[in-house]
Structures are given as structure tokens and as C-alpha cells.
């Protein structure tokens, strides 16, 4: 603790480093994030409503699949989130393991249930989409199987975190598990390239453009951006509650609660 305060006191630190150090302090994090969480929820609501309206009401049906193509507005953004949240969690787990910053541990651990929820949405929506288009709810091809493994990894992280009583030890163990599980991410992404799968290849690549018509692509991208705001809002809300819970007996929590009343 002493080394940390000494570091902050050094005059040559720039603003960004100062900001990062400040975010590591529970009361500062609690108050700072509390200010803009309502805005994140608001932006999420507006974007999600706008994207879904464009896609579900105004948008066209597909030339081959008809109306069932509209599942894309749920399935693809959720699938992206399931992988994005896992990578975020793994990066935070790495930071938490090396630097042992408690807030980062909490952020990594509170990411897991959100990611698991998005994975369940991905699998369910995809399964309901597979029935009318492919002719089956489920096949054990590489893409579907690796996404299911992702769900189990999330559940494993949540389970391990809750199985150990001491929260910081629990976080360390679960962070290691989530870091190891990150090898599954490239497998999910490239599964449709490396192996023959029933799942079709990627429609969108960062450099190669998209094979989805603009009238379907744009509403989907809007929902995808909305999902990112949902994650940010949900994550910070959960992390603040977790902080209060862990620091129940500390002075700053008493101050915060006093201010509220």
C-alpha cells in the first residue's frame, strides 16, 4: 500500500496514468462510474430500439430465407458480444493476475455472467434459426460445438469464483481459468475456415467488406453497438454492487451510504 501512494505522489506522472491510478481506488471508481451509468443505459435503449425497429419492422426479408433472416439482428450481435466479453475478461484477468488490482479482478469476474447470458442468447437464437433454414436445431459441427464450449468456460469461471470463500483467492483462480480458456476464441472464429462446417463462413471481415446487403447490415450493426453499451452499463452496475458488498465494513461505503440518505 505504501509503495502505491508513493508512486502517485511522484510529480512526473501524466494525466492518463493518474486517471488509471485513481480508477483503482474503490471510492473514486464508485463515484466516477455512478455519474455516467444512466447515460450508458439510455444510449443502449435508444440504439437497440432504433436498430430493432429498422431491422424487424422496416427492413426487408431475405431472398432465400424469407422472414427468418430477422433472427440475424439478435444472433450475430449476441455472438460477437459472447466473444468480445470473453476477450475483455481474459485481458482483465491477465492484468489482475500480474498487478493484483482488486477493481480489475471484480470487473473480470462480473463480466462472466453477462458473457454467459449473451452466449445462451447466441445458441438459442441460432438454434431456432437453424431449424427453418438448415433443417435442424443442432449439429455437432466445429462452430456450434466451440460456441457451446465457450458457454461451459463461462459457467466454469462463474462456478470456480463462487466455490472459493475468500473473494480475492477466488478471483485469482477464476482469472487463471478464464485466461487459459481464451485459446477457444481463435478456434470459434476460424472454425468455419479451418473445417467443413454446416455453419456458413463469415459474412463480414474488417478488411474484406461484407456480403450482407446494406439494408440488413446497418440495422444489425446498430444493434451490435447497442449491445456494447448494454455490456458497459451492466458491467459497471454489477461491479459497483460487488465493491459495496466486499467493502461493507469500510469507511468509504459508510460515507457513500450516508450521502445517499
Amino acid at each position: 500500500m505504501n509503495t502505491k501512494t508513493a508512486k502517485i505522489a511522484k510529480p512526473r506522472k501524466n494525466a492518463l496514468v493518474m486517471f488509471i491510478h485513481k480508477m483503482g481506488s474503490p471510492p473514486w471508481f464508485y463515484n466516477f462510474t455512478g455519474k455516467f451509468i444512466p447515460w450508458l443505459w439510455l444510449i443502449f435503449g435508444v440504439l437497440a430500439a432504433w436498430g430493432l425497429y429498422l431491422g424487424l419492422v422496416k427492413g426487408p426479408a431475405d431472398y432465400l430465407q424469407g422472414e427468418s433472416v430477422r433472427i440475424i439482428y439478435l444472433h450475430v450481435p449476441a455472438a460477437w458480444m459472447s466473444m468480445l466479453i470473453y476477450s475483455t475478461m481474459a485481458v482483465m484477468a491477465f492484468i489482475a493476475l500480474v498487478w493484483r488490482i482488486r477493481i480489475v479482478e471484480i470487473l473480470a469476474m462480473t463480466s462472466a455472467p453477462i458473457g454467459a447470458a449473451f452466449t445462451i442468447v447466441t445458441l438459442t437464437a441460432g438454434s431456432l434459426w437453424g431449424r427453418p433454414t438448415w433443417g435442424t436445431y443442432w449439429v455437432w459441427d466445429a462452430r456450434l460445438t466451440s460456441e457451446l464450449v465457450l458457454l461451459f468456460l463461462y459457467l466454469g469461471v462463474i462456478g470456480l469464483y463462487n466455490a472459493i470463500d475468500e473473494p480475492r483467492k477466488a478471483a485469482r483462480a477464476a482469472c487463471l481459468l478464464s485466461l487459459v480458456g481464451a485459446v477457444n476464441l481463435p478456434i470459434i472464429h476460424y472454425s468455419v475456415k479451418w473445417w467443413n462446417t454446416l455453419h456458413q463462413g463469415s459474412s463480414i471481415s474488417l478488411l474484406g467488406g461484407s456480403s450482407i446487403d446494406a439494408s440488413i447490415l446497418w440495422p444489425m450493426l446498430i444493434v451490435a453497438v447497442a449491445a456494447k453499451f448494454f455490456y458497459a452499463a451492466n458491467l459497471l452496475t454489477r461491479a459497483r454492487v460487488k465493491l459495496l458488498e466486499q467493502d461493507m465494513r469500510k469507511g468509504w461505503v459508510r460515507d457513500v451510504l450516508k450521502e445517499k440518505n
Binding site: 426487408p60 431472398y63 485466461l179 485459446v183 473445417w195 456480403s211 450482407i212
Partner: protein, 150 residues
């Protein structure tokens, strides 16, 4: 960086490297078994004995779909360009089944080279567009047949 953090960093990186190497090795040894289906060309290269179950994937060759009068039996040719296989299936085909569509059929070969399918799934491609765009593409000669790149 303090020595403790450096030690932790090295330990975490070592674990990551170990897991990475282990999964790469597993990946290379599993590669063959992870193939969800065989293409007609795969089949020509490595014949599968009659009677053994496997999945055959490819495009339905346009003009080859023959439906039995008053029954559910369908015969069609699955092709991947250079090679083709005749498939017979009794049952209801998925909505997306049509000429030029990618399909995956599960079943086995009989002695004569006919593939008797017990299940046919439609493989969708990565193109999504409204019907008007598809029509416009067809008119300008960009036929939107599903392309098989795997």
C-alpha cells in the same frame, strides 16, 4: 515493474505458452476428425467403403433433381465442381433445398456408388439480401448461387 510483478508476469506468460502449444498440437492431430462432411473430391481421393456412415457435402447440381411421382423419394447429384455423387433421399427436404444450394447429406454409399441419405440439411452461404437485390443481381449476370469455399 517490481520483481514480484515481473515474476508473476513470467509465470502467467509461461502458462499461456504451455496452453497455446498444447492446443496447437491437439488441433493438428484432430484436424481430420473435425471435418463435418466430405466433399465428392475428398471421396474420390480417399474412398469410403460402402455401408459406412458419413456426411457428404456439396452443391445440388442444377437440372439433376428428380422427384418420384406420388412419393417422397428424391434423387439429385451433389457436386463440388470436379467430382459428383448421385444421392437418393426419402423424406421431407428442408425449405432451403433447391438447385444450386449447398447441402449436407448423412448416409452411406451402396455398392453401385449411389449415396443413400438418411438426412439432408441445407447449408446456407454467407450472403444476405432482399429479394429485389437478388433479382437485380441475376439480371446483370451475377448469379447468386451459393459458393462453397470450404
Amino acid at each position: 515493474m517490481t520483481p514480484t510483478r515481473k515474476r508473476r508476469l513470467i509465470a502467467v506468460l509461461l502458462i499461456l505458452a504451455g496452453v497455446g502449444i498444447a492446443s496447437t498440437i491437439a488441433f493438428y492431430s484432430l484436424q481430420e476428425n473435425m471435418l463435418y462432411f466430405q466433399s465428392p473430391s475428398d471421396l474420390a481421393q480417399q474412398p469410403i467403403p460402402p455401408g459406412r456412415q458419413f456426411r457428404l457435402g456439396g452443391l445440388v447440381k442444377p437440372g439433376t433433381v428428380e422427384r418420384q411421382e406420388g412419393g417422397l423419394a428424391t434423387q439429385f447429384v451433389v457436386t463440388d465442381g470436379p467430382k459428383e455423387v448421385l444421392v437418393e433421399y426419402v423424406g421431407i427436404l428442408p425449405d432451403l433445398f433447391r438447385e444450386g444450394q449447398g447441402v449436407i447429406a448423412r448416409g452411406s454409399l451402396d455398392g453401385t456408388g449411389l449415396f443413400a441419405a438418411s438426412e439432408v440439411l441445407a447449408k446456407h452461404d454467407e450472403n444476405y439480401m432482399p429479394p429485389e437485390v437478388a433479382d437485380a443481381l441475376k439480371e446483370t449476370g451475377h448469379v447468386s448461387y451459393p459458393k462453397e469455399d470450404s
